[in-house]
Symmetry: C2
Subunit: 431 residues, 2 copies
Amino acid sequence: MAAHRVVLVGAGFGGLYAAKALRRAAVDLTVIDRRNFHLFQPLLYQVATGGLSPGEIASPVRHVLSRQHNTRVWMAEVRDIDVEHRRVLLNEGEAGYDTLILAPGSSSQHYFGHDDWAPLAPGLKTIEDATEIRSRILLAFECAERETGAAARRGWLTFVIVGGGPTGVELAGALGEIANDTLRHDFRSINPAESTIVLVEGADRVLPAFPPDLSAKAARALKELSVQVKTGSKVTDLDGEGVAISSGDTVERIPAKTVLWAAGVAPSGLGKIVSDRTGAPLDKAGRLIVGPDLTLPGHPEIFVVGDLANFSHQTGKPLEGLAAVAMAEGRYAARAIQTRLRGQAPAPFHYFDKGILATIGRNKAVAAFSRVHISGPVAWFVWLFVHLMYLVEFDNRMLVLVEWTYDYITRNRGARLITGMKRDLKVPPAR
Amino acid sequence: MAAHRVVLVGAGFGGLYAAKALRRAAVDLTVIDRRNFHLFQPLLYQVATGGLSPGEIASPVRHVLSRQHNTRVWMAEVRDIDVEHRRVLLNEGEAGYDTLILAPGSSSQHYFGHDDWAPLAPGLKTIEDATEIRSRILLAFECAERETGAAARRGWLTFVIVGGGPTGVELAGALGEIANDTLRHDFRSINPAESTIVLVEGADRVLPAFPPDLSAKAARALKELSVQVKTGSKVTDLDGEGVAISSGDTVERIPAKTVLWAAGVAPSGLGKIVSDRTGAPLDKAGRLIVGPDLTLPGHPEIFVVGDLANFSHQTGKPLEGLAAVAMAEGRYAARAIQTRLRGQAPAPFHYFDKGILATIGRNKAVAAFSRVHISGPVAWFVWLFVHLMYLVEFDNRMLVLVEWTYDYITRNRGARLITGMKRDLKVPPAR
């Protein structure tokens, strides 16, 4: 009898941990991803701020799984799913399955109906996003150095980050560090420490998913890094020269050449396709609502894990789009498949809360583990340890450790390259 | 009295070493480069083959020079030079000089009149070139894995490298390593070791600038890595599906989806502009012919160093476009300026030959130091040492050492990312 065919779409945290958990299973596994690498997204902000190189937080999927002999890896894009004949249709060719695991993650930023803002305020989701943001930040300082008009210079030295979740807080903290420490001696006409960094959050506190005491600590740490935190505020307009920020009744216009978007992501568009094909309901955010065993209603052969899944059976609220959740869901799906192959029924999925972490600058962090809240340097060491642990490749761990140790001592950030611009790109003209 | 104004164009080896040698000089130095980083070009082929990350071989110019208080760094493009009023005209603004050091290097590949080949056979000159080549190589294996037609698969698994100088030899060696070692366990439908790697060189031996015995050793080492070396051959046509190679009377067509260009570079277009403005003669290659003190005839205030300079006063032949030559020329120009400021005349430039080096794969190299020729693992250690020594930043040296040590032991190459493609790029359709 031919082996049970498992097709897995997406090699992020959910997909990769499902694939690894299937390494000894009697299945024929095909892992499909549009990219050739697994990306360690929690450190993407470090690439965006020049602290790490892309290669240090990305590992080729087929290398990670190369010793897993029941597994093949295809770099391909999923076009559609033929639920009836159980096959995934790719940009070229197809893959038949007995069981399908969907783990496509979140694929693009969510601009709340203002998709035209995307080129003006890049989000942070891919390696290309990160190097684009890195180039914009560094180019802004280069332009400020050569700018002679005071107002225009101020515009170059003002950075607005939209969204006060972990990504926004980590970006703002790293930017504060860049302005206050990293670039301290590098310029002659400007003082980078006079940069203005504004963090805009709609809720009444930063890190709204964290307990309030940690939000307050994070806000304080940001303030020490000269980050202006505007809570209860939202961006109502932006045009490349500045942003309009509305807080209650007042609207303030801040001239800023660099605006970064960290205000939420949208689940993969694959959700819509799957919903159309299976009749499975989508929630308002575009996630597929899954059953207690992470499968779609009427389709026990289709598991959905990670950011695309809305699993609300545990607390009544959907689990957060966290790496830890995706990993747990991926492992569960892998085990459930093996349980079924033994002719048994898997127990429902249960997420054991592993806590949440965010870092602010070079030695502060906040962490909540159920009722235990920690902050400051201790939390930062926990953050460091957890992030190094989960880097999938050992050599990446070593490199990141060397880079961080050196950067920590020297207050440097080693990967400050402006790349990916057109070869002849000129510094934007001074005004 | 205002300080003597030195403007330096280009922060490659020539420019950066000139700038560093001026750190204690009583001058007001402005360093101008189009990019914000100094690139360690000798290791660019390592980025192109996934062994190193861009950040490991590039250092921000303003960081390298940040403690040098007589120096400012501008990221700008030189548009023209107003020789009469002694000012460099930039894309935006200008910089007045008393002495000008031109070190723009080589800016683009030289396709011998076939500029239309550029998109089909990328050269290796910039970070973007390197990541583009890396993406093409890795994507070729991905496509081969999914390709079902034998002929098309062969095309994906055939790599042609045009040019048998150090860059071509190093690329071919690294590709041989990738095919034979790095990817050994990664694929299921193909065996990467069955790749065909062809190195095409017009002269009668590879590394024509090296002594013949070392060329022979390099050819042997390449053969051990399954590289087919075609000397006395040139590419007469290429079209994205294959290349036509003419050797004497015969023309052979090799189907190959991936063609890399390592057949020579063209000096910066700035040479032509400077020649027009000063009347200084250009040689056939487009280099400025300089006097014994590296200045232009009739313009003692303009030094030319590095790849743009044709200095033939020592041996009757122009010095090679090597990093070591550029560094020596840059240092000479810096010292000559200081000698003149003391009211003395500098002695003519003299290049002390530091030898030439090239590496082939993971533990072979060839090196010629005047009459001493070495090869094999000893030469490889020399190569390693020299390249680590000249990486300008200490943390880069550490990172490269960690990465290489790990890669050497595991036969891995840690930075195998396919990036920079359009977000929705599809794997090229199988045929």
